[in-house]
Symmetry: D5
Subunit: 134 residues, 10 copies
Amino acid sequence: MPEYTTAHAKAGIKARLPALECWPNQYPGYEVMIEIPEFTAVCPRTGLPDFGLVRIRYLPKRWCVELKALKYYVNGYREVGIFQENAVNRILEDFVRAVKPVRAVVTGEFNARGGIKTIVEARYPKRNETSQPQ
Amino acid sequence: MPEYTTAHAKAGIKARLPALECWPNQYPGYEVMIEIPEFTAVCPRTGLPDFGLVRIRYLPKRWCVELKALKYYVNGYREVGIFQENAVNRILEDFVRAVKPVRAVVTGEFNARGGIKTIVEARYPKRNETSQPQ
Amino acid sequence: MPEYTTAHAKAGIKARLPALECWPNQYPGYEVMIEIPEFTAVCPRTGLPDFGLVRIRYLPKRWCVELKALKYYVNGYREVGIFQENAVNRILEDFVRAVKPVRAVVTGEFNARGGIKTIVEARYPKRNETSQPQ
Amino acid sequence: MPEYTTAHAKAGIKARLPALECWPNQYPGYEVMIEIPEFTAVCPRTGLPDFGLVRIRYLPKRWCVELKALKYYVNGYREVGIFQENAVNRILEDFVRAVKPVRAVVTGEFNARGGIKTIVEARYPKRNETSQPQ
Amino acid sequence: MPEYTTAHAKAGIKARLPALECWPNQYPGYEVMIEIPEFTAVCPRTGLPDFGLVRIRYLPKRWCVELKALKYYVNGYREVGIFQENAVNRILEDFVRAVKPVRAVVTGEFNARGGIKTIVEARYPKRNETSQPQ
Amino acid sequence: MPEYTTAHAKAGIKARLPALECWPNQYPGYEVMIEIPEFTAVCPRTGLPDFGLVRIRYLPKRWCVELKALKYYVNGYREVGIFQENAVNRILEDFVRAVKPVRAVVTGEFNARGGIKTIVEARYPKRNETSQPQ
Amino acid sequence: MPEYTTAHAKAGIKARLPALECWPNQYPGYEVMIEIPEFTAVCPRTGLPDFGLVRIRYLPKRWCVELKALKYYVNGYREVGIFQENAVNRILEDFVRAVKPVRAVVTGEFNARGGIKTIVEARYPKRNETSQPQ
Amino acid sequence: MPEYTTAHAKAGIKARLPALECWPNQYPGYEVMIEIPEFTAVCPRTGLPDFGLVRIRYLPKRWCVELKALKYYVNGYREVGIFQENAVNRILEDFVRAVKPVRAVVTGEFNARGGIKTIVEARYPKRNETSQPQ
Amino acid sequence: MPEYTTAHAKAGIKARLPALECWPNQYPGYEVMIEIPEFTAVCPRTGLPDFGLVRIRYLPKRWCVELKALKYYVNGYREVGIFQENAVNRILEDFVRAVKPVRAVVTGEFNARGGIKTIVEARYPKRNETSQPQ
Amino acid sequence: MPEYTTAHAKAGIKARLPALECWPNQYPGYEVMIEIPEFTAVCPRTGLPDFGLVRIRYLPKRWCVELKALKYYVNGYREVGIFQENAVNRILEDFVRAVKPVRAVVTGEFNARGGIKTIVEARYPKRNETSQPQ
């Protein structure tokens, strides 16, 4: 089986995906949590499919995400080779660029591979982690 | 299928609904949590029904909400076309205007649509979100 | 069905109930949680029975509550017409007067009525709620 | 049935029990949680058996508790008449004396008696409870 | 059965294990949680097998752990005699040395032995525990 | 505590209760299951309340049971002293007399007393039990 | 509140509903189970909404039910006043007429009303129930 | 550790236990299920305590078992050394002799020992097992 | 959205898929159950992905299915447009042809689409369904 | 990765394992169920560990299985390369030879490999499977 290379580590980060869309938010200062249980992508090293559950939690500012477009965006990963860690971070980046929320958290909970289950969580804005242990 | 328009984004925010009623609170400084599992409204874009569970948590001041009137108020959404995000925010606004609590949180947990499940949470008074990441 | 009146709002607050008893606490600074799943009272408006689960969490000072007397005290609500919000607040008041704890929380989790489930939580001493949103 | 007396309130606090043993800890600054689901003692008032689940959470300093000795220590309560509140506090005292941890919490979750379930939690060192409501 | 000795208390801490490997992290400031349900080692006192679930939660800096190498590393404990407390601390040490995360927590949840279940949790960097009760 | 006597064994079997009512069934050959989670009666020996969940499963012939009348019938046991075994058998007898189903099963699942939980199940028509072990 | 009348008992049995559709089955002798969690209709006596979960299990002969048409058919009950027992029997009749299965079972599991939960189950073809107790 | 001997295999089968009592059954042909979650006895080989959950299901003829006496009977095993298989069979024998049911099943579900959990089930009357595989 | 056509109803039934492989069975007369939670295919009408859990239960004769080949076979559906009912029946046909079991059952439990969840179950050999209602 | 060969298919079937032991059964005609959650063996093709839960259900004749010996027998598979299907069948054969039960069933529920979970069930005596579909 091929080893991890830099190409693997960067795979899928720039892949083309359907656009996220928005509608104008009507209320200030509330929170929305979205659960998408049918994420699937491809492992760039082995070519085998990955499956997972993606959760997005955000505090809208001027825009709310349009759910149908979000679904097509997530379906767009079906043929993309990308590491699980990168997929979660890219979803957050794309979401923040399109929806411009006050804050957002994306979590990917992936099915076990080789008996090992992985959960990845990224948030915007970043916490200052240098001074503060858990 | 029609696209999101401003009309959709504002639909139902001003629809007529049964009035909320109160009875005089007898004790200071406690909390009430109410769970209403049978919320249903209509999607303003597709005309298809939405279903959800609404939770209200509040700290009463001079009034407690009357549960039978609350039930008729929630039943009143059955024919209303309104987005899920807006329904939760409107329930909070109507509740705060009628019951005048110290504080309140309304949560709507909606059944999946297109494989995507949504939870919306609004609170009164608003937190100051500009300075404080999660 | 009769409407809510002031008589309903105050019903049961002064009803006679069996006394709570104590035994001398032997250790400082620990916490006790008690779960009583068989609370039942009567709705003062409709005359229909209410059912619920009562939880008491307290930090004893000089006394521990005697569990058999507590059970008879809770059984005493069986014929009492009282609103759920008032029952929880009264249990807390009676408990604090008899057991004199450092602090205490009483929670009542009531079965759904008209499809609406209610949870009430009261605590001693009261928090200062004016300055601090949730 | 006999009433609570001071003798009941102090029963079992000085009963002889098997000794706890330790082995030398090899790492600093981590936490151990132990779950012992088969605690049984006797109610000093009624002579009826009590059953419960005991949890110990501690941060070791120089010593780790030896699990086989801990099991014999807990089995030692089988014939001891002692109130549930006292049993949990005594387990904490014996544990702290033998293992000398940085900190420790003992929780006893007891099966329902007369339809009432009790959980007792004691911790070392004590929190300062006078200034700080929950 | 042999008693605990210093040899037992240090067993396995220096045992040879497969190396952990990394790939270059592409995003700053997110968290990864890994669940490995098939940990097994040997008790150094009794020679009997131990089974457990190991969880690793970390915030990557320059490197992400390679999951296949992590699996072989964990499988490497199969023949190693080591106490559960030491296994968790050693996994943390090996992980921190190889992956150099901002922070990391390792938890081992072990199957009951003699009716006693144990959970061990170690974290990097260490909290300052002297001033702060739980 | 008083011992079991014949009076206790027959208590409540003839107590007056609200009448069951019916409406005319419109379809042949189907089954209805009803779950009533708030049954409460009184133990004729100790005077203490019993709580339970009653299930009725029946195959209607000419009549369906009216649910509101069924609720008042079940509420009618609140002050009745009756053993759990007798309550379930009486509910079945009253139900069969009023609704005249093709067949019916009544199950009562009662909360634990003295740490002992009881379930009673009676059916109409009776099976021939003499020849057939379970 | 109005009493049950013959009009109530027959309400909704002939109401107009969207048509069920089929596609040609490709394989013999297998079974399909369909779960529709968002059934809602109206009680013909009180005008209040009913909510429930409908399950259809069938063994197709020449046709399979088209799921999108089935969804619109079930949505069609939203404004129909009909008893729960009748709704389940009517769904079975409509399904058997449209899909012509070898056999079929329809189950409706309705949310509690007045604290009483109801499940109704109808099947095609009917069993011969006269000779065979459960 | 001592090996199994004939003395171990027969231990406790004749131990003295509190008597079971009955009250006169009032209805024919129904079933009673009793759940006793706090069984404890002693292993005759190791002297260590065993814990378990005992279930009794029976079809009463002339007598119903008195639950308080049943509880004292089960508590009587606390000091008895007896194998789990024998305890379940003896409970069935004692129950059948005292209550004379049409039929009865006793199940003992014991906590794991050495990581091995055991369930034992005995029934009266015996099935003819020679001709019929499961 | 396009309507169901005969082309849709037959789509994917003849699609090329990886071959199933076997190894020689060593024991007679036992049963194997296999659970594959990551089935995904495409709806031939809408082009949207379907997700599901496939279970295979079989009684081997001369061959056991090779699990790695089975996994590649199931992964092969990823790009195939096929109705859920047909996918389950085709998996059964392919399995029976390759493994030649005494008997086999294939079940597909698919994620909800439009709020409707579907389970399909096919078995070999077919039961004679003409004479026997459920 | 090496392919399946006849050597793999027969691996471990004759491996040496610790002996099973018995004690003399005291009662006729009852059933024992044993659950062993910590089975581990090695895949003969890949050398990777397998993990599983083994259940044994049997009806003793003259002997009961000795649980401590059973535990050592199961631990004995730790270094044995054997397919999951063969391990379950061999456990049944060894058990029947040692304990000579009226009947027995062995079930192995193995952790997922490659996302595929397997359960194997073998029974003694064999059913006649030629005439009877499930």
